[in-house]
């Protein structure tokens, strides 16, 4: 809330046009507000108090289509396309907020109103001193205590909110009205009961050349494995630490005659920041440098009952057990745009470092457990690796469960010459 107050204080200071203490202006303004004077009147009063003319400097007047995240002091005219009341908890206190959509002929944007402005669906309103945040790569408007909303009789034709086209890799949780073209790679049919009624759901994995994603369809669109489809009006959410796309009978699903997407599904290498921003994904392909081998790498023992890694023959769940020997690596892979944790199971580990569990058992007998970790560091630290697998996110960040991995030996001379040519061409 303070930011909006600051911007009002800013306006006053500028309107006064001479040296005044910001702190004092703020104090004065607060006093008026506490007395229940509406913000715009309080503003005028403070300006007059300092001998200003009470002229409010022009604010940031924009069409909705021009609003960008982090815009402040916005002046807008729009039609409320939808609004709903919500209860949220802010610092342990329950508060009523209003969420909805406001639009004009250029765009429809989501908004959050932090108090009841008394507007309803269909109202055309003049909005002053709003701000914008960002959600899912889209601006979202905030109407705070400091925002003024005034109903008008003007009429506005809303732009038809067009579905936004995404590549699979750019799908992150929290998007709505999504359009995507993808191939259905797997499909499972399940019966579930929703509010006492039996319903069929269809779920699986679909993908385009940029990546793969889990999907759930709540309606039968007659799609089968292998189909290339265009879906519009879907939404995304986070499910078990990775993004998922969901569509129901409100969506449009069209089967395409394209063979185009058949090859190269999800084989493109993805910059790591995209994996981090999406909060995980299925069957990803990434490349980065190993910058850390974490504790718990090397030869470990697993509990025969629950498969957890155990320490000195004791499992946190099952107590004293006869551990089963295993090999793994926990590493951090970083490509300079982002970083992920990576867990390599025994197969992936043995393939990656071209040594097997027996080799490391011998090494342990000869030189101790630390030798194994040291050897892994020697073989991997600072080396570029190519990794495929599923990625999940939790409180600690994104973790890739590695399916396959190899150390790469990039051909840098050629790439160097290419980049040099590009740099020279800039002249």
């Amino acid at each position: 809330m303070n930011e909006e107050m600051d911007s009002v204080v800013d306006e006053i200071v500028r309107a006064v046009g001479k040296e005044v203490s910001v702190e004092e202006v703020k104090k004065n303004l607060k006093k008026f507000i506490e007395y229940g004077v509406p913000v715009d009147q309080a503003k005028r009063a403070v300006i007059q108090k300092y001998g200003g003319k009470g002229v409010i400097p022009s604010s940031n007047k924009k069409k909705l289509g021009d609003v960008e995240p982090y815009d402040k002091r916005l002046s807008l005219l729009g039609k409320i396309a939808a609004v709903e009341e919500r209860e949220v908890e802010v610092k342990g206190e329950k508060r009523k907020i209003f969420r909805g959509l406001v639009g004009d002929e250029t765009a429809v944007l989501p908004f959050t109103a932090w108090k009841d402005f008394g507007f309803g669906k269909g109202d055309v309103v003049k909005i002053k001193n709003a701000s914008a945040g960002e959600w899912g790569g889209q601006p979202r408007l905030n109407f705070s205590e400091w925002t003024e909303v005034e109903k008008t009789d003007e009429s506005i034709d809303l732009i038809k909110r067009k579905a936004q086209r995404y590549s699979v890799i750019d799908l992150k949780p929290g998007l709505s009205n999504v359009e995507v073209k993808a191939k259905i790679l797997t499909m499972e049919e399940r019966d579930v009961s929703v509010e006492g009624k039996n319903k069929k759901v269809y779920s699986g994995i679909m993908g385009d050349e940029t990546g793969k994603i889990r999907y759930t369809s709540w309606a039968d669109f007659g799609i089968k494995e292998g189909d290339v489809v265009e879906i519009s009006g879907a939404y995304t959410k986070s499910w078990r630490g990775a993004p998922q796309i969901v569509f129901n009978e409100n969506a449009k699903v069209e089967k395409l005659d394209e063979a185009l997407l058949v090859e190269n599904i999800g084989t493109e290498k993805i910059p790591i920041h995209k994996v981090v921003e999406a909060g995980g994904g299925v069957d990803l392909s990434i490349e980065g440098v190993v910058i850390e081998i974490q504790k718990g790498s090397g030869i470990i023992y697993r509990c025969p009952k629950c498969n957890r890694a155990i320490r000195e023959g004791v499992c946190v769940i099952d107590g004293e057990v006869d551990g089963i020997l295993d090999l793994r690596i926990k590493a951090v892979i970083d490509d300079g745009t982002g970083a992920v944790n990576a867990i390599f199971g025994r197969d992936a580990t043995e393939k990656l470092i071209e040594k097997n569990l027996q080799d490391y058992e011998k090494m342990t007998e000869k030189s101790g457990e630390e030798a194994v970790e040291k050897d892994m560091e020697d073989l991997l630290i600072a080396h570029p690796v190519h990794v495929t697998g599923n990625a999940l996110s939790d409180d600690y960040g994104v973790t890739v469960i590695v399916q396959n991995a190899e150390v790469i030996h990039p051909e840098i001379k050629e790439e160097g010459e290419e980049l040099l040519a590009k740099v020279e061409a800039l002249k």
Binding site: D334, D335, T337
Partner: protein, 274 residues
């Protein structure tokens, strides 16, 4: 979220004077480079040129790592036991990889020294160093591009840069740098990349033999003239010419020796063997 380890040449990192301080406990601080790298953590591969224990008592190791554009300073003390231990027993010159946190020292207002506190340090080979140079060129080039795009915008917008496909990290850094640094001299960084890339350029390899001969001679000369403080650049060039090494080749040889970490510049204009 784990902070990514940025690839930034020493030439760019050392010119950073703007710090974005994190408010509150868990908000990280960043060094903003002139080209808009938003640095909390760095990944560096270069030549370890010298190591010194600078603590009054106990241990605080200062070391320098050279890349084709400049020199990083790293510090490791008792809170970085593995790095300190590594530095206490490593020979120079050698190729090392370092992942570490950006550190800032501001002795007075407006004066900023940046260094690196290693979280990981490891000896590597020349091929990994070359790969790092290539990667760092690529990242620097991308920032340069983003910076050019941002300069066309009025005002520069993080959102618009992201829409153009730049990672949010880069977009934020570039916009922050544009407002913090009055003039960002993009051409300077273009030069930096070119210097670094010329390391791989074709034709270089044949030249290397001739250079190799010159390098040996020049290295001897530097050893002879260096004393405590290091040898003066001009003195080396003069002595070189006396021994029949042409002026250009002397300079090439010196640059190459510096790249390899066999010679470094303890003070501007003076050279010392590592």
């Amino acid at each position: 979220m784990r902070e990514p380890a940025l690839r930034v040449f020493a030439g760019e990192y050392n010119e950073s004077t703007h710090i974005l301080k994190g408010g509150g406990e868990k908000v990280p601080s960043y060094v903003i480079s002139p080209l808009g790298a938003k640095i909390n953590r760095l990944f560096i591969v270069g030549v370890l040129t010298d190591i010194e224990n600078v603590a009054q008592e106990g241990e605080m190791w200062r070391a320098h790592i050279s890349d084709p554009t400049g020199i990083y300073t790293i510090y490791a003390g008792r809170y970085q036991p593995e790095a300190a231990n590594f530095l206490s027993q490593t020979e120079t010159p050698s190729y090392v990889a370092v992942a570490g946190k950006a550190r800032v020292y501001e002795p007075e207002e407006g004066v900023v020294f940046v260094s690196v506190r290693p979280e990981m340090i490891k000896e590597v080979d020349a091929s990994l160093r070359d790969y790092w140079i290539m990667e760092t060129c690529r990242h620097t080039y991308k920032r340069m591009e983003a910076m050019r795009e941002a300069m066309k915008m009025n005002p520069p917008s993080v959102y618009k840069l992201k829409e153009l496909g730049y990672p949010s990290f880069m977009a934020e850094g570039v916009v922050e740098a544009l407002s913090a640094y009055k003039d960002v001299d993009i051409d300077h960084y273009q030069f930096l990349i070119r210097e670094a890339l010329s390391h791989f350029a074709s034709g270089k390899i044949e030249y290397v033999k001739e250079l190799g001969e010159a390098e040996k001679k020049i290295l001897e000369i530097v050893k002879k003239c260096e004393g405590e403080e290091g040898a003066l650049w001009d003195e080396i060039v003069d002595s070189g010419e006396k021994e029949g090494v042409e002026r250009n080749l002397v300079e090439e040889a010196l640059t190459s020796l510096m790249d390899k970490g066999m010679v470094y510049e303890p003070i501007l204009g003076k050279l010392k063997t590592a």
